[in-house]
Amino acid sequence: MEITLDYSAPSEGQERLFGTYQAGEATGSFSCPLLYSDGIMDLDSTLARTKLALEESLAS
């Protein structure tokens, strides 16, 4: 399932990411903790984790 997340680019030090999602026919909004690695924002991992959670939610 293709999942698209739409969000405003977060600033360094920001704690959470907010946005909307589209997953097939399903749409909604999301909010998640921004992951940091060695003090550097890891947006890729944050988005991957959010998509995983969405997949699990929609598949259940």
Binding site: R16, Y21, G28, S29, S31, C32, R49, S57, S60
Partner: protein, 205 residues
């Protein structure tokens, strides 16, 4: 009802808030009373910490289980047909609105028919109120999930939160990953949420 936010608080009020019977013997170091402000046995505490303390809303989940090829679920799942397990009470009050509980369960990856308990995640899902009101992301301060031998405290700040749908059938989901638990908590989480008996979820505001 929470303890007063100012003024005098009696030990009896603390005891009753903790679920005790008024006028019966209690000590400020009793586990259920200490739990109102999250203190360990013998810990230092200040008078001001008791203002507004609340026992929280306790949901009792009578656990069911559901298995798919690569996933297991333990707890309450209204989204399943028929429901898996049950919950009491069946709704929680947020502000003045009542929100039915949709789900409260442990989800775990399953490989060759065996759960990988290191992947356990906790899901808590509420429906919107009957008038469509959506609960805020942070209407609670923490959720204490019963695990074997104690509780795991989970906060909205740690949660991945999804909002979907609208009206009374819309819902909000709080999901905590395995990384939000310590390794010891994961072991005890799996031991407690195994599809049998009852487990509690205490919502603190």
């Amino acid at each position: 009802m929470a303890l007063p936010s100012s003024g005098t608080i009696s030990l009896n009020e603390m005891h009753v808030e903790a679920g005790g019977t008024t006028g019966t013997l209690a000590s400020i170091n009793d586990a259920d009373i200490r739990a109102l402000i999250g203190k360990a046995d013998g810990a230092e505490m200040s008078f001001s910490e008791w203002y507004g303390a609340s026992a929280g809303t306790v949901l009792t989940v009578t656990e069911g289980s559901q298995f798919f090829g690569t996933t297991s679920y333990y707890g309450f799942r209204e989204e399943a047909t028929p429901d898996i397990g049950s919950v009491s009470p069946t709704s929680v009050t947020v502000g003045t609105k009542s929100h039915p509980v949709r789900d409260a369960y442990r989800r775990v990856n399953r490989v060759d028919g065996v759960d990988d308990d290191s992947t356990s995640a906790f899901w808590f899902i509420l429906y919107n109120a009957s008038d469509g009101t959506v609960p805020s992301d942070t209407w609670f301060t923490s959720v204490d999930v019963q695990i074997s031998g104690g509780t795991a405290s989970l906060t909205p700040a740690e949660a991945t939160i999804f909002t979907s749908g609208s009206g009374a059938t819309g819902r909000k989901e709080w999901r905590w990953f395995s990384s939000d638990f310590t390794s010891g908590e994961l072991t005890n989480f799996a031991a407690q949420w195994d599809g049998s008996g009852t487990s509690t979820v205490t919502i603190n505001e």
